[in-house]
């Protein structure tokens, strides 16, 4: 058996051992993947998960939401916080060990993966409005949160190779970090993330976002626009200082995003400004106690 086949077998065994995503996170993801997102249905799902309910109410009563009169019910909290924030908390709670990985193979610290993912999600949601065709911004947000889950698995297999990968990229021998992963291990973090997403039974639109976020032109036609959306979200998260260590800025931009987005230079700068303000508040309020 070749070295790559051996590694792949081990990686796939690790994927199978990852606990399944929480039932409430899975159900909420299914709900947002429908044309009519029902707040009432989302509240019903959350109510069956006491830990999630407590977490949402805690966040709704934080300073981030203005510290207004006490928010005592999900009926008040969910409309106040908005769907994105509910997805954010639900996904973080549903797969917390994944997002808290240290990513040693990427020289990345605990918390970096989640910060990068949350920033990618926030930017992807904001970029959706520049799409030439309709993009479901809630799915773009969720795809942004989940796009790099494969890194949590693949990181330990990369070992101490990041220095060599960086050298190879600097010398133009490799086109990007994910390509180096494939050369070294026979598989990249997007492919591993895709396998994990399938293990969690996530909908096809999310598995496609995860699999093609570095190669959006290869995505199925019906998902291409949203995959490009998260591709841009990922690139901008890295550009604005929120990468996941050694691979930051070392993934190429696919300039064919212009087939799907009307984005001027002014729009791009406005986005950087808007995202900074949004993420700044989120970081202050949502990272400190988690």
């Amino acid at each position: 058996m070749s070295n790559h086949a051996e590694i792949l077998k081990k990686i796939m065994a690790t994927v199978k051992k990852v606990p399944i995503i929480s039932p409430s996170a899975n159900k909420i993801i299914q709900v947002i993947n429908t044309d009519n997102i029902s707040i009432a249905v989302i509240i019903k799902i959350i109510k069956k998960d006491s830990a999630l309910t407590a977490n949402i109410l805690k966040t709704a009563n934080s300073v981030f939401y203005g510290g207004r009169s006490e928010v005592a019910s999900l009926e008040q909290a969910v409309p106040l916080m908005g769907i994105d924030e509910i997805i954010n908390i639900t996904v973080k709670n549903g797969v917390s060990n994944i997002f808290n990985s240290e990513l040693k193979g990427y020289n990345s610290e605990v918390g970096d993966l989640w910060k990068h993912d949350l920033r990618t999600a926030t930017i992807s949601h904001a970029i959706a409005r520049f799409s030439k065709n309709f993009i479901a911004s809630e799915i773009a947000f969720t795809g942004g949160l989940l796009h790099d889950i494969g890194k949590a698995i693949i990181s330990s297999y990369l070992g101490e190779t990041s220095k060599h990968i960086i050298n190879a990229i600097d010398q133009g021998k490799i086109r990007g970090f994910y390509e180096a992963e494939r050369k070294l291990l026979g598989v990249d973090h997007a492919q591993v993330g895709f396998e994990l997403a399938r293990h969690w039974n996530l909908p096809d639109i999310l598995t496609s976002i995860i699999l093609y976020h570095h190669t959006p032109s290869k995505a199925p036609d019906n998902f291409k626009a949203i995959v490009y959306c998260v591709h841009l979200g990922d690139i901008l998260a890295m550009m604005t200082g929120y990468g996941t260590g050694a691979d930051s800025l070392s993934h190429p931009l696919d300039s064919r995003y212009t087939d799907f987005f009307d984005l001027s230079e002014d729009d791009l700068h406005q986005l950087v400004l808007e995202i900074d303000e949004k993420c700044e508040m989120r970081h202050d309020e949502l990272f400190d106690d988690q």
Binding site: S162, I235, L249, H251, V272, L273, D276
Partner: protein
């Protein structure tokens, strides 16, 4: 130290340039000089009195000009500094990797780190 994210404050519609002038290259340098002045750097602004160092300005791999915001930040900063008659004494800019900058207060040493590339002094 000022950490800029965008080159030009004229795009600002949210008044951020006033509350956080360091966010833009064109307002960041005057804000830094004002701040330095207010804490005692009251001499003339010149390379005789100042050491200017710049780091950052990276871009993502294979990106088009529009996405080279870091490069434009570095270019704008250089122009603003020139208006004050300041030359950059040392710089580590460009490339496709992020940098973290810190200042050793006791010695004035500028230390750069980048994941996978280690640590070096500017």
């Amino acid at each position: 130290m000022v950490h800029v994210a965008l080159p030009d404050s004229s795009i600002d519609r949210s008044n951020k340039a006033k509350t956080k002038p360091g966010f833009f290259a064109d307002t960041g340098i005057p804000a830094l000089l004002n701040c330095m002045n207010s804490i005692g750097c009251s001499g003339p602004v010149s390379n005789g009195n100042f050491t200017v160092k710049m780091a950052g300005g990276a871009s993502v791999l294979a990106c088009n000009d529009m996405f080279k915001i870091g490069k434009r930040n570095a270019y704008t900063l250089k122009g603003v500094l020139e208006k004050y008659g300041l030359k950059i004494n040392a710089a580590h800019v460009g490339g496709n990797f992020s940098r973290t900058v810190s200042v050793e207060a006791g010695t004035g040493k500028i230390i750069l780190t980048s994941p996978g590339r280690g640590e070096w002094t500017l």
